[in-house]
Amino acid sequence: MIIEGKAMKYGNDVNTDVMLPGKYLALTNPEELGKHAMEGIDSNFLQKVKELNIIVAGRNFGCGSSREHAPIALKYGGVRCVVANSFARIFYRNAINIGLPVFECVGISERIEEGDQLIIDLTAGVVQNLTRNERYSSMPMPEFILDLVNEGLVNYMLKRRKKN
């Protein structure tokens, strides 16, 4: 699975409240949720994401509330992938389950600047930084996780049930 795009940078401990503020939690439509992505900390996000569509963040990305609305808002807001030094566990699982690719690599945030052109190969576990001509390696994702990211947990379960 290959994803290409440009980096938009955030710091450490970006929580799910700022990705999708509490006042929008009664929304369920993904497109509607997407319109409020990152509203809590970045009022220019929807403008920026048109060009900078890969989030690159520091430690503990997605901490806080278990709201799946947060990764849904990012995905439908236009984010193609989130790359971070580390993720909070519920966000990490939620992102995979709703089909938002995530890539964890210690120290990666310090190597990438906003606007850098990136190619992410989730299957190989490698990020290529075309702007700086660098490569960063992490653990490749197991196949079933890649299937989940690709299809989303809903379709994955549906298929598995049909097979049985």
């Binding site: 503020p21 509490g22 006042k23 009664a26 503990n60 901490c63 278990s66 947990l153 809903v154």
Partner: protein
């Protein structure tokens, strides 16, 4: 190693619960197991999405309708047309699939409080909830953790979920807590020491004399906030207090699970109660912890006592004792939200609510509203709130330009009286 030894490994409480739930003799840290969950909880924020995922996955009936608990608690009573819609979706879900453990408006209260006080959680159980503060149930010796809505849809279908056996940390708090130092101060202290990602993916056990001395209410506060340092689960090993608490509430039988004698913890961290004083987590991260004395005098506009963190009887009694016979400072508003209908009724019978009203406190019905910036006590630009809740993120209680300071019910009550952040030890007569 003899065969006998390899068959019987000494396991910690997290491993033992996951081994039982995945029908294995032994499990080891890092191993991925598919486990059968004992209970699955949804609320009005996460439930409608879970129900939708379940149906999209082809679900026609729940794996076990007795084991699903659905609770309307965030927007109670419905505050907008949209929240009325999500409540309706929850009602329809409960009716369509025969969920009898459904707590609608006025029937239950904040989901985590209801789960424990209605005995939906028992020692040794594996419980998942579509809410991050599901870690609360570790207070009665369950392995409980938060999951997303889509995963919950899969649990509804199969009753199973994959888990990585967590690295276990034993946090020991030795000796007795000082006067006016509460379980909230203990957990703020620990998070301040370890950081907001200091226990990511880990199972955290709380032990030591200070924890032994805590009531179930206090242990719930502790386990509730384990997730604020990234933990997968927080737990206190069941003791006589746990057993008495549960037996006083239901006839359900249960098997207490404890650590094996020689079980292994990857990390053991020792703290001494004497290090812990009344604390505050300043905006905008929960690990931004300082002694209240460092912040004394900081002006506040609102004081909130409630939430799944601190809306229980022990919390309300403590706050009332401090506020009794005094009025909150002019220009400041205070809000008290009992964590459940049961707590509300008990507080009413004990005269606490009357006392709060005399102190000019606003009492709201059990719900999550103020804590997550949903409704009831939203902050506008430039306002500050001192709160017993568990998060102080940017915009958590309303405007991104407002501030939330987290503290114990004692500190919040004292601050409400004085109109500025106040060390409760300086106010108590």
């Amino acid at each position: 190693m003899s065969c006998e030894e390899s068959e019987k490994k000494e396991m910690n409480i997290f491993e033992k619960i996951l081994a039982r739930a995945s029908k294995k003799k032994n499990v080891t840290q890092g191993e991925i197991v598919e486990a059968e969950v004992d209970k699955a909880m949804i609320n009005d924020i996460t439930g409608p999405l879970a129900a939708e995922a379940f149906e999209k996955m082809g679900g026609r009936q729940l794996w076990d309708k007795e084991r699903v608990i659905a609770i309307n608690d965030h927007y109670v009573p419905a505050s907008t047309i949209q929240s009325a819609e999500v409540h309706k979706a929850m009602r329809n879900f409960a009716q369509k699939y025969g969920v009898t453990n459904f707590y609608d408006v006025g029937r239950g209260g904040i989901c985590h409080q209801v789960m424990v006080e209605k005995s939906h959680v028992l020692p040794g159980e594996l419980v998942v909830g579509a809410d991050s503060h599901t870690t609360t149930y570790g207070a009665v010796g369950a392995f409980s953790t938060g999951i997303g809505s889509t995963e919950m849809g899969a649990v509804f279908l199969t009753g199973k979920l994959w888990f990585k056996v967590p690295e276990a940390t034993n946090i020991i708090v030795h000796r007795k807590l000082d006067f006016m130092v509460t379980p909230k101060d203990v957990i703020l202290y620990i998070i301040g020491q370890l950081g907001a990602d200091g226990a990511t993916y880990m199972g955290v056990k709380f032990s030591g004399e200070a924890i032994d001395d805590m009531s179930i209410d206090g242990r719930m506060t502790l386990c509730n906030m384990a997730v604020e340092m990234g933990a997968k689960a927080g737990i206190v090993e069941p003791d006589n207090k746990t057993i008495q608490y549960l037996k006083s509430r239901s006839d359900k039988s249960f098997n207490v699970v404890n650590d094996d004698n020689n079980s292994v913890y990857a990390r053991t961290i020792d703290y001494y109660a004497s290090e812990i004083v009344p604390l505050v987590a300043r905006p905008y991260t929960v690990d931004n912890v300082k002694p209240v004395s460092d912040l004394e005098g900081t002006a506040i506009d609102q004081a909130f006592i409630g939430a799944c963190t601190n809306g229980r009887m022990e919390d309300l009694r403590l706050a009332e004792r401090i506020m009794r016979g005094r009025k909150i400072k002019e220009g400041v508003r205070a809000i008290v939200v009992p964590a459940s209908q049961e707590v509300y009724l008990t507080a009413l019978k004990e005269g606490l609510l009357e006392s709060f009203v005399k102190s000019e406190v606003t009492i709201a019905n059990p719900n999550c509203g103020p804590c997550f910036g949903g409704h009831l006590g939203i902050l506008t630009e430039g306002e500050s709130c001192i709160s017993t809740s568990n998060r102080n993120f940017v915009g958590r209680m309303g405007s991104p330009k407002s501030k939330v300071y987290l503290a114990s019910p004692a500190t919040v009550a004292a601050s409400a009286i004085m109109g500025r952040i106040t060390d409760p030890r300086h106010l108590e007569a």
